[in-house]
Symmetry: C2
Subunit: 386 residues, 2 copies
């Protein structure tokens, strides 16, 4: 924590940071004229939301109420809800329509401080609809000042056409969809929902091995509601992250602690699901695992666009210290996306992504619940419109 600090940004990159009185004189070697911006509040590295499903159609309001009244997820799916509702919705919409819907959501995430945002596909579950989602992400990456990291999640669920022939869908993923996504350069990562009833550890290994062969980094939805060895598999595969983890086993904790795989925790999801449990964040940290936080923004189980709210839940629900909550949406979230080299810190050589919180004490960024504390955002050295 620096008081009365200065940050020098050269083009898109942080050139220097330190006490204001020590700031280097900027000379004529710089083409652009020096622009001085005075800031009141606390300056953070741009926040990184390393897990979202932001490309979708309508909110799943019926699911929320059914769950409130005690209907379980199988009955919700049988009533036409659940992930497959969003799949039908995304398949039916045009790329332009999805882009318009997603644009305003990502703009809100950015306004709340997320300068880098991972966005997954996974509501298509057929080649063209998955490519459509990924093209929405590519289009918005060119339009919005945030950095978007696209992840292929064709293995979000077995689509209805492949019920009873799941091996065929896994084959389709490995032999057609992943190669097509990689060929078009539409994704940087591949993710699988590894959970009993969705994809088994064996299937997940098969899919992610194919993804790695095609040059995609790998991630896993692991041990969300039931343990299934997902965390262990993530460590085994050298995944960037294992996400959710509310039902992680002791062995899973040891596996993550002994690996470079980041544990991405999603406390807002458990709250929105009305669950009474959360991932064992302190045990993960004490074992030596790196813990990140993310919104899990999606229409069925986490309609939240605020990383500061997630940070507050990180402290109050997961037992993180304030400093751990900040690390969890900066340095560790960067690592969960393979971006640790130049994101997540205010340090020379890092991208000039910065967030100002209008607070007196830096810890307030993980304290106010549901109030917008972010007053200004810069990405790649430029101020974002308010």
């Amino acid at each position: 924590m620096l008081q009365d600090a200065a940050v020098l940004i050269d083009g898109e990159t942080i050139a220097w940071v330190g006490p204001r009185r020590d700031a280097p004189k900027v000379g004529a070697q710089h083409a652009a004229p020096l622009q001085v911006v005075e800031i009141t509040g606390v300056l953070f590295p741009g926040f990184i939301d390393c897990h979202t499903h932001a490309v979708f159609g309508a909110p799943r309001l019926d699911d929320q109420e059914r769950r409130a009244l005690g209907v379980d997820y199988k009955a919700i799916a049988a009533a036409g809800g659940g992930i497959l509702q969003s799949v039908r919705d995304v398949r039916a919409r045009s790329e332009t329509e999805l882009a318009a819907l997603t644009r305003s959501r990502l703009a809100t995430l950015l306004a709340c401080g997320a300068t880098t945002i991972e966005v997954k596909s996974g509501y298509g579950l057929e080649l063209e609809a998955e490519l459509k989602q990924l093209r929405v992400i590519r289009r918005l990456a060119g339009e919005l000042p945030a950095t978007l990291i696209p992840t292929f999640l064709g293995a979000h669920e077995v689509p209805p056409e492949y019920r009873g022939k799941r091996a065929e869908y896994v084959r389709l993923l490995c032999e057609e969809m992943i190669p097509a996504v990689a060929r078009e350069g539409l994704a940087q990562c591949c993710d699988v929902f590894c959970e009993p009833g969705v994809f088994s550890a064996t299937e997940s290994r098969q899919i992610l091995t194919a993804a790695a062969r095609h040059g995609l980094a790998v991630k896993l939805h692991a041990d969300e509601l039931e343990g299934s060895g997902g965390a262990e598999l993530a460590a085994e595969l050298g995944a960037l992250s294992a996400d959710h983890l509310a039902a992680i086993s002791d062995e899973g904790i040891r596996a993550l602690a002994g690996s470079s795989t980041v544990a991405v925790l999603l406390p807002a999801t458990m709250i929105f699901l009305g669950r009474r449990s959360q991932a064992p964040a302190r045990r993960l940290i004490e074992a030596g695992a790196a813990v990140a936080l993310a919104t899990d923004f999606n229409p069925g189980t986490s309609p939240t666009l605020s990383l500061p709210l997630v940070m507050a839940l990180g402290v109050s629900q997961l037992g993180l210290r304030h400093a751990e909550a900040v690390t969890a949406v900066t340095v560790n979230a960067a690592a969960a996306l393979g971006l640790a080299a130049n994101r997540g810190q205010i340090a020379p050589g890092c991208v000039g992504d910065l967030v100002v919180a209008a607070v007196d004490d830096w810890r307030e960024v993980a304290y106010w619940m549901g109030t917008d504390v972010v007053s200004a955002v810069w990405t790649a050295g430029s101020a974002c419109p308010a």
Copy 2:
């Protein structure tokens, strides 16, 4: 739910509401010229936050982190935290300073849709400091466009000077503080924190009976973390509300169901406390009790200023239907403040307090977590500055 509706406001009061095509012609009998405002989105009655402790000094950030690390409330108090930290803080600040801090918080509550806000004292715990808090509320009631309902909560805790002589403090409350507050007309309600270790049911009865004698309506913090017959006492005394209720007994539920006392539930508090339980909202509703929701905004256990977030928690954590969540911050919250006659509804004769949510489906007001869905607010017929 009306589609394509119109609302006619005459002065500060709603004169008519119905389908736009049926709107009455406004003739020359009205002094003020007719002003037409077109609205896109969903129009709600102004939300009512019926339980806040908004007059305080600093956030209690240390408490939040200590609790995250597993320190219990007694150890937090022993370390200088808890309610008494806010008491020392409020006693040390001037009325002007407290007014400035409180003003911006209430402005945020209002911007999030709370047009009527109950505000409690209770961080003074001595006559002058309690009066100072109540004067802050009176001052801000004159400055802000929201309606503020002041509640005397001198019985929030036994102050340090009276440890070991609590009967004397109860006597002071009944014989000096309540009469002084009533004499100055500084409060409409009196509240007591009835909980094992704070005030017993017997002490609470004594205090609230004195309050009623001085013309104050009565409310109770009841059965928050341990049951103590608080709900039953609230019903017995004809209290406007019994608040918290996470530990209410079956008998307490029956008592509230058979009374006009509103059950005020505060789900954000349980989340911020890291608790794994919530008040039995469905059982209360099914028994026939009226359920309201509030922020419980305070620096130690609920730093939230957003009733929409609380509504979303009401659905997801308490199991309310969307419509019940809306009722809980409108009609039922009005009843919890004794204002049911002309607040909490868009109906002729009601105060012209209105909120616009920028959503497609009205249920979204209790869905998005931590995103500001309120796009415009009117109080007493006038638009609030954005």
